[in-house]
Symmetry: C3
Subunit: 219 residues, 3 copies
Amino acid sequence: MLHELFTPSLQHGLDLAGIFVFAISGALLAVRKNFDVFGMAVLAEITALGGGLIRDLIIGAVPPAAFTDLGYFSMPLAATALVFFLHPQVERIQGAVNVFDAAGLGLFCVTGTTKAYEYGLGLTASVVLGLVTAAGGGVLRDVLANEAPSLLRWDRDLYAVPAIVGATMVALFIHFDVLGALTGTLAVLTAFVLRLLAMRFHWRAPRAWNRRSASTEEE
Amino acid sequence: MLHELFTPSLQHGLDLAGIFVFAISGALLAVRKNFDVFGMAVLAEITALGGGLIRDLIIGAVPPAAFTDLGYFSMPLAATALVFFLHPQVERIQGAVNVFDAAGLGLFCVTGTTKAYEYGLGLTASVVLGLVTAAGGGVLRDVLANEAPSLLRWDRDLYAVPAIVGATMVALFIHFDVLGALTGTLAVLTAFVLRLLAMRFHWRAPRAWNRRSASTEEE
Amino acid sequence: MLHELFTPSLQHGLDLAGIFVFAISGALLAVRKNFDVFGMAVLAEITALGGGLIRDLIIGAVPPAAFTDLGYFSMPLAATALVFFLHPQVERIQGAVNVFDAAGLGLFCVTGTTKAYEYGLGLTASVVLGLVTAAGGGVLRDVLANEAPSLLRWDRDLYAVPAIVGATMVALFIHFDVLGALTGTLAVLTAFVLRLLAMRFHWRAPRAWNRRSASTEEE
């Protein structure tokens, strides 16, 4: 099956790891918002599984993978338990969490794109769904936490661009019929490294020109 | 059919009653947020039908029941009319409204779980969808009203737990092949009573340990 | 096919125009919220395509049209580019944008209703989905921008009512078997003109009676 670029067990292990780190970011935001342990679990589940869930609803893959694989469902609960008991320690290794989150971003933009393509969508739509898979959970997380989505804000380091680049690479590999474990890994790594660089050098996307007046805008 | 635990007409009557009281809570929040009568109707519809709608999209039951049963659609409009004309009186009986809301919670966690199981989902996923059915509408209500979902906040009495308990009882009954009108009613009543107790004694779920410092947290 | 009331190419051209103006409103809100260019594109896409996307998920038309027609996907990007480079000029013609938005509202409430009916939904449900098609994108836009949905607020000119009227006209035309290019156009124009009048004369819907006390409310 195409969207299992790697061996099934490796793919599954990577998926679980990506879900776990995404869930950590959801649970951490829940703590910051003063939610209780159930709020933490809900936010962890939705952050980790929400992007894939939206993708699956759109491509008609029901019931979505999030509801058929008990492992997918369990990882966010494990992440919730970890943050519940060790919140200050997890906050302290926020830098490491961000690195893992970048890895999850890279992984999910690639697997999301391939899965959408397998379900018969066009290459452009598959790229969009790769982005949705990688970034949709974080948007749902922020909406539920009643915050403007981090993905949309100009004062955040680039998040969408690495995912778009990774997903576009997959689409090109599919187009040229060279998608496989090696090229798939290359796309994952490219998105991963781009996101790391964006965090390291605070790369940001521009805002609209001349937002207030022509003279005072130089971002 | 399994998810009609009771006779069809009793089941339908209970569904309509549950929808009505959920819709009341949506219309009341709309008044508090200063929405107009259409905002009230939209919030009433989404609060009452949103949880079942999400469940139906996830299990692939399209078009969702909310769009095929005119009664389901009409009850929130009736609730809107009631709140529109008699808002202060409805606010005054908020205690009674909360009791009915607890009954709706009990009912929907049970019917949601059974419907999901009928559509072929596993027991754990069915429990999750029971919770989604019972509490999802309230989350959508709060998101549309631009508030942090009541379900997630630590300063609210337990809401998810009674639904999870009721849904889990249903799953156990299914597992041991004893789900019927009697055991189904028992699950509904258990969730209902747990929610009443949670409101009466202000049971709350804990927040993460050591949120700020190790010394000042004793919740 | 029924929901192509007009010739396919005319229908498609109208759809694209409606999508474009809806996307403009999304991109403009993104600028006001200080989002970056990717946030603008996301908000433009969701404002323009979100209503139809929800409708398609509910009626089971997957993958939704938004993901199968590259033109639908491209228009919001064009709108984003326009607002990105010419934001002050677009703001200055906000009045014209609102007129086009009203035209989009009229168009989409009609096409949304007909498409839902084609997929086998009842007339009432089809009217609701016509409203969802026309107004759902704007609600998603406001939710993502972390604002109370404009659709629900009492201090906004009527938006839902023109769409409901247009959608209801379509349902009546279907019921009496007279829906065609002429009657379809009549419904579009009615909704369009009603919305223009609502903006011109600041028509608003009432809020609940006696919101605070019986004596101080006279809206």
